[in-house]
Symmetry: C2
Subunit: 655 residues, 2 copies
């Protein structure tokens, strides 16, 4: 069979899944007027945000594209623009699906029960998951199809990746600031000051809060994973072109892996239509079916093509590492450590924060060692060069269709709960959505771990491609230029984290003031006789998040440029390594500390240690609030940072 | 003049300064019975702690010494034991002086006013400062004198350094846990629950708290700086032996620098006896006089010996880097950032913590860039090899006599305030000691920055010596073994920080329970009719801190051994680099975040934003409590960790 028939066939499978799932979602009617109205407000808020965000990103893209035209010519610039658009489209499609599926999940919970409701949220996530996979594979395969033998193919893949990375960075940062400013604003004033429950329709920030779940956890996460997917494929191709110029099967292998992954993901999804377990089992089942099918397919393909079987081990190691990191994350943000963290709340907020910081720090160790082992094993078994490491990254990401589906399921279930509360659907419905939402929290933790792990592997793959492209046969740490590059690189993630933490603080403050103002000035609001001005809160979050995303973005893009211009390519190599190491560790630290604080609070709210309203609960709320920007803004931003810097470096050596 | 005449002459100068200052301290009589009794309790507590600590350390030293005898023979083992004893003696002498000078500072404040009180605290610090310098130089010069031409001289210097490092690690960690468990215990129950002021004699933990200042801030800091001083000298000698085997002047240069630094420090001290400024000006003045004299002396010596003048630049760059980092630390823990942090307390504890974390993260950037610049400049100007970097480390540390004096001044002034409060000396005395104490907070911040900077430079010097000894002409990051070493190394500081943070939490909890118990069971305590059981609190802190120091110590010593045995010397090189980068950044982050929280609280307590008892103050107290283990336990432990791991690695390649 022709290579491109297979690749575009897999793209067609992905597109078909997206279309079918969308139709399945649309087939459910929203029969409740109030729920429909709320859902529309969330949808409108999310779409307004996306539109405004894309406007700002378009400007940045235009500036960068002009620079690329000037330095490299128009073809790479056009590919860059296409790359950035390809990154926006799945975000848009996924968001559309999520804002349709959320209210329909609520309706299904009301009319047809848990299983139907679960499937609706799962289908909503599936649109995002398969849209990411479809556009990623379409983009990279399309470039290979068009420019396969061209001398500038590496450059084209790099600019395509750069487009994806740039959009991803802004989507992650602005989405992260949006969701947390709205969340903190809604919680601090609504829950703590006014004493009304979560998702109460009297809270002016409640729509913004639900929009935030979509734009942060769905669109932001989607752009993050999309970028890893594209980056891993592109850098593996570039590496193969340099290392194995006369073995085309090595160059096309990452694309074939992605194609196999696409079909396997579809099988995983399908298995959930046939089988009928508990929701938690179904989510796990879908992933395991997909990975088993994927590995089987890869093994068959390598044999069929006569490629060395050790490459299979590299791919398998990537898969296993991805799952393992997710499980470690789940342990630290859900297991025994969280119970102990909750206990520390009994002596106040300070001890909760101290133990949470310690938990976050400790949680760095195991994943880093695992990733280290994966790198070493992939290198050793994958043929003894950097291609093996790169292939492990692709292996980890090939089943992105199903991984991202599971990720995107969470915020939809969360939204469904919000809508059922606001629409006043009562306890039985809320119980179902709460159960689905709790499950979403677990998948979110696993997803975060996976996102960090895949970001690291992708960054390493890009770094390997950079080193090859820059002609670095060695990058000697004993060379002080390399050493200093590592120092500077290591400090950048701290800087970006500081900036984004403060951004959330500032944006949340604006939100707090607005919510307070509405409670004070809108008469009859607390009694339920008047409606709050949801729109205004949505605007505040939108504007603040777009304003605050600029500086970190500029800093991330320009810092490798500055290092390259002043210190040259060896120092830049050191810079990338330093940034990757400190970036991954800070990302793990913040994601897991934040997740643990969140769940310790939920643990207490579920009735432990005095339950809601106890002193322990108050201490837990402080920890949760601190953890919010850590886990949903600053931490995730670092995933993209390490990839974006690497791809900028890769572009610089192409000049 | 003979080399060793100069070196031992400088040692004699240092010893003379120690003796003279001790006599000057002893010459002041303690005429107040109550103050004498309190001082005696503090002194007894500190000495008990040191004795118990030294017992445990002696055990560890015996185990390690046996291993050295087995693998390397008895001479290096004996030198190792001497090295560890040489590290304990200045701590002991300094502590003696501090516990004599504290009460005499109070007496001078009462009887003779601010200037005399300042000088007393300054002299107390001077004993520590010059004891550190004297024993450090005596040790290294003594080994060179005895074994100068011996083939194993590098090994002997390494085991001497290892002795210093091992003792320093335990002193830092146990001192840090001691001081913070006592502090948190005293504050949480005394200040917050019982509502009595700081240093109130009714608080059972008040003596332990004051002992903690001595054992943590004096003995712990002294051991830290002593280790940097010895380590920098030793590794520069080792490096010179390998790089310049036929240029003995390069080998002895670090020792001569230390000798010049000793005399210059004495001049700086002397200048304060002649001149008479405000306390703050005098502390600055002493440092600047010493550094100017030092640089002048070095310039003259290089010309006199016909050594290349560029070496002067390397030394000067080290000096400047040391001061600059101190000033950046002062800015972040005392300037505008702290005012803004205090403002964030108005919206509660959560925002205070978020902004404090952001501040700490941001504060990493500038010092790291400065140190990077220093490394690069020292390398470039110092002759284009690693010797230049190593020499910069020695330059930074040569005036340790005066730097450490200024550092050790702080806790004495702090103690003096505590004694004047407990002895009921009234407001005029307390005003003087408060002023001296506030000044001590500034010098403590600068000292912490200096300790981190010098630890980094020393670790780099040791790393350079390691690379030379291991015969690594290059340490290639593109080699996955090196890369994985960096990953693992980078994660260790997170692990150790997590362990030490939790240790403080556990020890503080034991203290809280004891203080609560005493308040409940001792009748008439609150009314001032009965005395609390100070002794019991001292015991709790002592035992807890000694118990908790073992695991981090074992982990730090064994992890490079494990990496070396499994992955060999290249991976160990990567491991050291990873640990150094992440260790320095975490240390800066924690030290500065903690310092800023502390000072934001003090800023509010001084009357800003509602002052004591306001909501903002309550939020600030939470931040301060979180910052305590960060800045005084976990952060400082990392300074030693990076040096201790490097020296263990250096020993491993000597096998």
């Amino acid at each position: 069979m022709q290579l491109y028939t297979v690749l575009f066939g897999a793209v067609a499978v992905g597109a078909a899944v997206v279309a079918i799932l969308f139709m399945k979602i649309a087939a459910v009617a929203v029969t409740d007027a109030k729920a429909a109205k709320i859902a529309q407000a969330i949808s409108r808020g999310a779409m307004t945000f996306l539109k405004e965000e894309y406007k700002v990103i378009a400007l940045v893209v235009a500036v960068v594209a002009s620079a690329i035209v000037y330095f490299l010519g128009s073809t790479p610039a056009i590919i860059f623009v296409v790359g950035s658009m390809f990154s926006m489209v799945p975000g848009f499609i996924g968001m559309c699906a999520a804002t349709h599926a959320n209210v329909r999940t609520t309706m299904e919970a009301k009319n047809r029960g848990e299983h139907a409701a679960f499937l609706m949220a799962f289908f909503g996530g599936g649109v995002m998951g398969f849209a990411v996979a479809t556009f990623g594979l379409l983009g990279v395969a399309g470039i290979m199809y068009q420019f396969g033998g061209h001398k500038d193919i590496a450059l084209y893949l790099t600019t395509f990746s750069l487009g994806a990375s740039l959009v991803a960075f802004f989507a992650r940062v602005s989405g992260g600031i949006y969701t947390k400013s709205a969340d903190v604003g809604a919680d601090l004033v609504g829950k703590i000051e006014a004493g009304i429950p979560e998702d109460d329709p009297r809270n002016p920030a409640v729509i913004a809060d639900n929009v935030g779940d979509c734009v942060g956890d769905t669109a932001g996460m989607g752009a993050d994973i999309y970028e890893s997917y594209v980056g891993a494929m592109a850098s593996t191709v570039i590496l193969a072109l340099t290392l194995y110029p006369d073995k085309p099967a090595y160059t096309t292998l990452p694309l074939v892996l992605a194609a196999i992954g696409m079909v396997s993901s579809a099988l995983g999804l399908l298995s959930n239509l046939v089988l009928r377990f508990q929701p938690a089992a179904m989510l796990r089942n879908a992933t395991y079916v997909a990975i088993a099918a994927f590995l089987g397919g890869v093994y068959w393909y390598l044999g069929y093509k006569g490629l060395p079987i050790p490459l299979f081990y590299a791919v398998a190691i990537g898969c296993i590492a991805g799952i393992s990191i997710g499980l470690v994350t789940e342990y630290y943000t859900g297991g025994k450590p969280v119970e102990r963290l909750a206990e520390s709340c009994q002596t106040g907020a300070a001890t909760n924060v101290i133990y949470g910081l310690a938990l976050g720090m400790e949680s760095v160790v195991l994943p880093v060692m695992m990733l280290g082992a994966a790198v070493l094993l992939a290198y050793t078994f994958g043929g003894g060069d950097l291609y093996g490491i790169s292939l492990a990254a692709v292996g980890m990401l090939s089943t992105v269709g199903i991984t991202m589906t599971v990720d995107a399921y969470g915020p939809i279930a969360d939204n469904a709960g919000g809508i059922s509360e606001m629409a006043g659907f009562g306890k039985p419905v809320r119980d179902i959505t709460d159960k689905l939402d709790a499950l979403g929290n677990t998948t979110a933790a696993i997803g975060k771990g996976f996102a960090i792990g895949s970001a690291l592997m992708t960054a390493l793959a890009m770094f390997a491609a950079y080193a090859e492209k820059a002609g670095l046969v060695e990058l000697n740490v004993l060379d002080p230029w390399v050493m200093v590059g590592m120092f500077i690189g290591g400090s950048i993630p701290f800087w970006i984290s500081a900036l984004t933490m403060r951004s959330v603080g500032r944006a949340a403050l604006a939100m707090v003031q607005e919510v307070r103002r509405q409670f004070k000035t809108i008469k009859g609001l607390m009694e339920g006789n008047a409606e709050p001005d949801y729109e205004r809160c949505v605007q505040i979050s939108t504007r603040a998040s777009l304003r605050e995303m600029i500086l970190p973005g500029v800093l991330t893009v320009l810092s490798p440029v500055v290092v390259f211009v002043i210190f040259k390519e060896k120092a830049l190599g050191g810079f990338l390594v330093g940034a990757t190491i400190s970036g991954v560790m800070l990302a793990l630290f913040m994601a897991n500390a934040g997740g643990a604080w969140d769940n310790a609070k939920k643990f207490i709210e579920a009735g432990a240690l005095g339950g809601k309203g106890s002193d322990a609960h108050r201490a837990a709320v402080v920890g949760d609030t601190i953890g919010d920007p850590c886990k949903d803004t600053s931490g995730p931003a670092l995933n993209i940072l390490i990839k974006l810097m690497s791809v900028v470096a890769l572009l610089l050596v192409s000049l």
